[in-house]
Amino acid sequence: MNMFRNLPFQSNSDVISLLVKLQTVPDRQPEQVESGRRLFLEQAEVYRVEIARLDKRRQGYKRVNSFTRLKDFQYIRLFSTIMIILLISMVGASLTLAASQSSLPGQAFYPLKLWSEDLRLNLSYYSPASYLLALDFSDQRMREIEAITKSGGVPPDAVLVRLENQSDLAIAAALRLEQRQAIMAMQAIHNRIQSQNQVLEQLEQEFQVQPQVEQTLSRTREMLQLRLRQVEMYLEEPSLFLQPLPQVSAQVSPGSLLLQRSEVVPKGTPVPGNLPGTAGFPAGCISCTPGGTLSPSTLAPGSIRSTPAGSQPAQTTAGNQPNQPGSPSTGENQPGSPPEAPGNQPDKPERPGPGGYRKR
C-alpha cells in the first residue's frame, strides 16, 4: 500500500504517475509467441481455402445462372411472341368466322361459312348427334334460299346442291345409329324436312316469283319430298335397312345432283303404297315391287338425283317415274348419262369403316 499512501491524490498527476506504473509488462514467452503466430496463420489458411472454394462455386453459379437466365429470357420471348401471334390469329379467325355465319351466297365470307360447316361435319362424323348438325346446316340453306327469293334473286345451284347433300348426310348419320336411336333421329329428320317443305310451299304461294325461281323451288321441293319418302319408308319398316349403306360424301360438287337426271326411284325400288302419290303399288305393301325386291341401297342417301338445271322438274311422284334407259339402279353415274359439268364427279366413298355399314 506504499504506492497509495505516498500519494495525496490532490491532482490528476498523482493518478497519472500511478497509471505509468502499469506500463511495466513482463515479456511474452517465446514459445507462446511462436504458438500464437502459428495458430493465427493456420486459422488464416483455413479461411483462405474456404473463401477460395466459395469464390469458385460462386463464379460457377454466376456463370451458369447468367447463361441460364439469358437462355430462359430468349425462350420466354420467343414463346411469348408465338403465343401472341397465335392469339391474334385465333381471335381474328374467330371474329371472321362469326361474321361469316350471316353471309349469303355471293358474298365475300360465304365460302368461309361453307368451309366451317364442312369442317364441323367432318369433325362430328362419328358423333351420334351429327345428323342434327347436318339438319341445322340444311336449315341454314333453307334460310339462304328464302332470303335470296324474298330479295328477288335466284337461288344458285350450289345452295340447292348443298341442301340436298346435307339432307342426305343427316339421313346417313341417322342410319349409322342403333335402331332405336335411328328411329328417333329419322322422326326428327322427317319433321325438319316437312318444315322445310312447308317453307318452300309458302314461298311459292306468297311471292310471285320468276319462272326460273319457281322452277328451282319446285326442284328443291321435289328433292325434299323424295327424302321425306325415304324417311317414311324407314319408319314403316326399319328392319329392311340391314345391308351395307353407300357412303355419302360431305363434299358434293355443285351441279352433280342437278345436271344428271337419273331415276328418282330406280326400277325395283319399293314405294310405300300408303304414301300420297304412290299409286301403282298395293296399299300396305312396302316391300313388294313389280321388278324385284327391296334394295336398301336404292333408298340410301345419295342414290337420288334431281333433274339438271334448266330441265323440267319431275311433276309426278318419284316412285312413278319410268326408268330411263341406261340409268343405273343404284343411282350412280354410268356411261350414257348426260354429260357432266366441269367438276361434276360421281360420288365416291370417302369414309370406309363403321359409317358405311349398319351392323346389328
Binding site: 507462446q32 496463420l41 483462405r48
Partner: protein, 180 residues
C-alpha cells in the same frame, strides 16, 4: 515494409506473408494492452488470440478495416476486456486471499501487485470509453489523434473523456486510501 493499406489489401486476400507481418507488428502492443488491463499473462494471451481471431473472421466475411488497423485491433481487444471485467467482478481480491503466508521479501512484490490490481479495479469501474482513453493515453502512450481514431470519436471528445476519467480515478483511489 509495406504500407498499412497495402498490408490490409493483402490481408483481405489472406496473403500469409501479410498476415504474418500483421501479427509480428501488432500482437506485442495488443498483448501489452491486454496485460495492463487484465493483469495476467494467460488472460492477455487469450485476449490477443481472440482479438486476432475476430480480425480474421471479419476478413473472411469481407469486412474488417481498410485502414487504421491498430485502432481496429485495440477496439476489439478493448471490447473483449470489457466483457472480461463484467464476468470477473471480484478478481482483484482473489490474489490477496490466495497468498496469506508469503515471506517478507516477496511481500513487497505482492503488495505492488495488489496495488496494481486495485488500480485495475478502479479502471474497470470507469465507463468503457473513459477506460480506453486513459489506458491508450497514459499507459500505451498514444496521442489524442490516434485515440480518437481508435474509439471513433473526435479529439475534443477524447479530451473530455480523459478529464472525466482522471477525476473519477482520483476520487476512487482517494476513497480507497481513506478506507485503509
Amino acid at each position: 515494409m509495406t504500407s498499412e493499406k497495402d498490408l490490409l489489401r493483402k490481408a483481405h486476400s489472406f496473403d500469409p506473408d501479410a498476415l504474418a507481418e500483421i501479427y509480428d507488428s501488432y500482437s506485442p502492443g495488443i498483448y501489452r494492452y491486454a496485460f495492463r488491463l487484465l493483469g495476467e499473462q494467460d488472460l492477455a494471451e487469450e485476449c490477443l488470440a481472440e482479438t486476432l481471431s475476430r480480425f480474421l473472421l471479419a476478413l473472411k466475411n469481407n469486412g474488417g478495416p481498410r485502414e487504421h488497423l491498430q485502432a481496429y485491433l485495440y477496439r476489439i481487444a478493448h471490447n473483449y476486456i470489457t466483457d472480461q471485467y463484467r464476468r470477473k467482478e471480484q478478481w482483484e481480491h482473489e490474489l490477496t486471499e490466495a497468498h496469506p503466508d508469503l515471506e517478507q521479501d516477496m511481500r513487497a512484490s505482492l503488495n505492488s501487485r495488489i496495488d496494481e490490481n486495485k488500480l485495475r479495479h478502479a479502471l474497470s469501474c470507469l465507463t468503457p470509453d473513459q477506460r480506453q482513453v486513459v489506458v491508450l493515453k497514459f499507459i500505451e502512450g498514444m496521442d489524442n489523434r490516434a485515440i480518437a481514431r481508435s474509439i471513433g470519436k473526435p479529439i475534443s471528445a477524447v479530451k473530455s473523456l480523459q478529464h472525466r476519467a482522471l477525476a473519477a480515478l482520483r476520487r476512487m483511489l482517494k476513497n480507497e486510501l481513506e478506507e485503509e
